[in-house]
Each structure stands twice: as C-alpha cells, then as structure tokens.
C-alpha cells in the first residue's frame, strides 16, 4: 500500500473516550496522516476556528487581540472524524455546525459509532457526512478517507485560476480559503496529537508461528 506523502493531510479526530482517541490516532498515523485529537465537539469547533455561540467573524480575530495571523495556512484540517455519542455536543451536532458554517462546510466529516442504527446512519449521511464507520474502526476503513480529502485538495488548486474570473465565487471555493482561519494560541490548549516527525510505520507482517 505505497502511499505517497499523505502526511500532507491533517485529520481532526473527536472522541470523548481516551481509549478510542488513542486508537484512532494510531490508525490515522499508521495511514500516514497528521493527527490532532480532541475530546469534545466544542473543542473541535474551537480548533477549527468557530465559536459555538457566535458565527465566525472574518474580520475579527477569534480570541487574542495581538494575533494578526488568524488566517493561518499552516494547520489546515482536511477531514474531521468524530464519534457520534458524546456528552454535550454529539457528533451529529458537530456535523451540523460544520456544514452550516460557510467557512467550514467543505471539510469532509466522517462519523463513527458503536451502534448500528440505520436511522442514525441515514440521518448523518443526509446531513452531509461522507462516511459512517462502525466501531471499532479498522485500518481498512481508513482507506476510504483519502478520496474525500483529495477532493478538497484539488479544489484548492482550481481556486487560484477561477478567482479572478468570478464575481461571485462559488461558496465551496470561498469556504476553502476561510477554512484556514484559525487561532494558533488555542491549539496549544488542545490535546496535542500532531507529531513533528513523519513516521510511517507499517505493521510488520511477521507471522512466524513458533
């Protein structure tokens, strides 16, 4: 499965269970993605630069008045993968908020759940989730993620050419740019899951039965 530099993709994983966070982080890193994990939907929105109680203000930096860099390029989120059942904001609530946000709606969202409830699944897919994974999530499930992330990446390239031409940029392209708006300071408070070194471990399939 020779994946090229997928470490260019950054996934935000949301789960209130510390065990599942550790698992999903390992799964994602094994698949060569950069990972940030948070333990709640509200922290996820904060990380994405959106406050629950107010809409995103393009001209107002979210928190620090000294921070002029609220349109950061560095940490872009290419996909959000979230647990469904969480206290407070559920994964579904988070999905809705992301899809309702002009700046975030293009980020692909994947839902994970330990419960196989057809109505739940269809609800999430209708709300715009790209995939619905049953827990425990396996490595093979993650291979479904890449196409969704590639889609948004290629939109980025298109944007440069189209921008000058269109008087009314389509919401999708506009959204991608604003997606990068974020607050660096906030991130430090988050549970840090991004590792600077790009390890690309592959499970060594040594199957020597003694």
């Amino acid at each position: 499965m020779g994946m090229a530099a997928d470490s260019e993709f950054h996934v935000l994983a949301v789960d209130d269970s510390i065990i599942d966070r550790k698992l999903i982080e390992r799964l994602l890193k094994t698949s060569s993605y950069q990972v940030t994990t948070v333990d709640s939907g509200s922290k996820a929105l904060e990380f994405l630069g959106l406050h629950e109680d107010d809409r995103i203000h393009q001209n107002t930096p979210s928190v620090s008045p000294n921070n002029h860099q609220w349109r950061l390029q560095e940490v872009e989120v290419n996909l959000v993968i979230t647990d469904y059942c969480m206290p407070g904001m559920t994964g579904y609530d988070l999905l809705k908020k992301i899809k309702e946000s002009s700046s975030l709606k293009n980020i692909p969202v994947v839902i994970m759940s330990s419960e196989n409830v057809p109505s739940r699944i269809s609800r999430c897919l209708e709300e715009g989730a790209e995939e619905f994974f049953l827990k425990p999530v396996r490595l093979s499930d993650l291979s479904k993620l890449r196409p969704h992330m590639l889609k948004t990446k290629s939109k980025d390239h298109c944007k440069e050419q189209v921008d000058e031409k269109t008087a009314f940029p389509s919401p999708k392209q506009e959204g991608k740019e604003e997606q990068q708006q974020s607050n660096n300071n906030k991130r430090k408070a988050m549970e840090e899951g991004v590792s600077p070194e790009r390890t690309r471990p592959r499970p060594n399939g040594i199957t020597s039965v003694v």
């Binding site: 599942d20 698992l23 490595l139 471990p201 060594n204 003694v210």
Partner: protein, 154 residues
C-alpha cells in the same frame, strides 16, 4: 527457560484466550498496529482500558447503590464500558455490557445488580489474563527474543 519455550507458551496462551472468548479479533488489530516505532502500543491502550474500567465499575457500584437509581446514568457508564471493552477486544466484558444495557432500559434493578457482578468478574478475569500475557512478552523481550505474531483462523 529457553526463549523458544516461552514463545511457545505465549502463542498457546494467546490462542486459548481467543478460544475461550476472552479476546476477539479486535485485539489482533491492536497488535497489528504495534511495531518498532510504537513498541508499547498494546500495553498502553490496555492500561488505559484498565484505568477507565475501574473508574467506571466504581461509579456503577455507587450509582446502583442509590435509593433511587438513575438508570440513565447507569446506562451511560455501561455504554462507555461496552465501548472501551469492544475497542480492545475484551469480548466477554463487552457481552455482559450488552445484557446490562438491556436491564437498564427496562429499569430492572435486580438484573442490573447481577450484571454488575458479572461484569466485574469478567473484567478482573481478562485483566489477569492480559497481565499474564504481557508478562510472557516481557520475558521474551528480556531474553532477547522477538514476540511472535499470532496467526488466527478468523
């Protein structure tokens, strides 16, 4: 004891845990995620499971001991325990949790108390087994050997 003998013991012991239903395929998934760059992954995740579970079992005991049991709260804890046991492949614990949740749903206190006892039993059993497994692995590594990957039929 020679490394080869301990390795054999480990393989046999691990297989028995699967045969007896203590562990399921998810545990193998965990092992596959472990490698040279993350050599302690399984132990780390399982340790988190131990800590989390013991907290949950305490909370369950307290919650079920109340004069007016809050079944929603109890169900919440069991749901968490079910999730984490499922995530590490602790099959028997997970199965008791499923029954436990059914009793919560119909607010059957006796059923819940029985399940609490059962889940504690299963938890301590699997904890014991996993600790034995890790000890065997440590012995192998300490003797300079490598931990064999288990090939299971499923």
């Amino acid at each position: 004891m020679e490394v080869v003998q301990i390795q054999r013991r480990l393989v046999d012991y691990t297989k028995s845990l699967f045969m007896e239903g203590f562990l399921d395929g998810q545990f193998l998934q965990l092992q596959q995620l472990q490698d040279e760059s993350n050599p302690d992954f399984v132990v780390e995740v399982v340790s988190l499971f131990f800590d989390d579970s013991e907290k949950l079992l305490n909370e369950l005991t307290i919650a079920l001991d109340q004069p007016n049991v809050d079944f929603k709260k109890v169900d919440g804890h069991v749901h968490q325990l079910k999730g984490s046991s499922s995530s590490i492949g602790a099959q028997r614990v997970k199965n008791v949790c499923i029954a436990f949740r059914n009793f919560c749903e119909v607010q059957n206190i006796e059923g819940c108390l029985t399940c609490l006892q059962q889940v504690k039993q299963e938890y301590y059993l699997v904890k014991n087994k996993l600790e034995t497994l890790f000890r065997l692995e440590q012995q192998i590594v300490a003797s300079g050997g490598s931990i064999p990957m288990i090939e299971m039929g499923f």
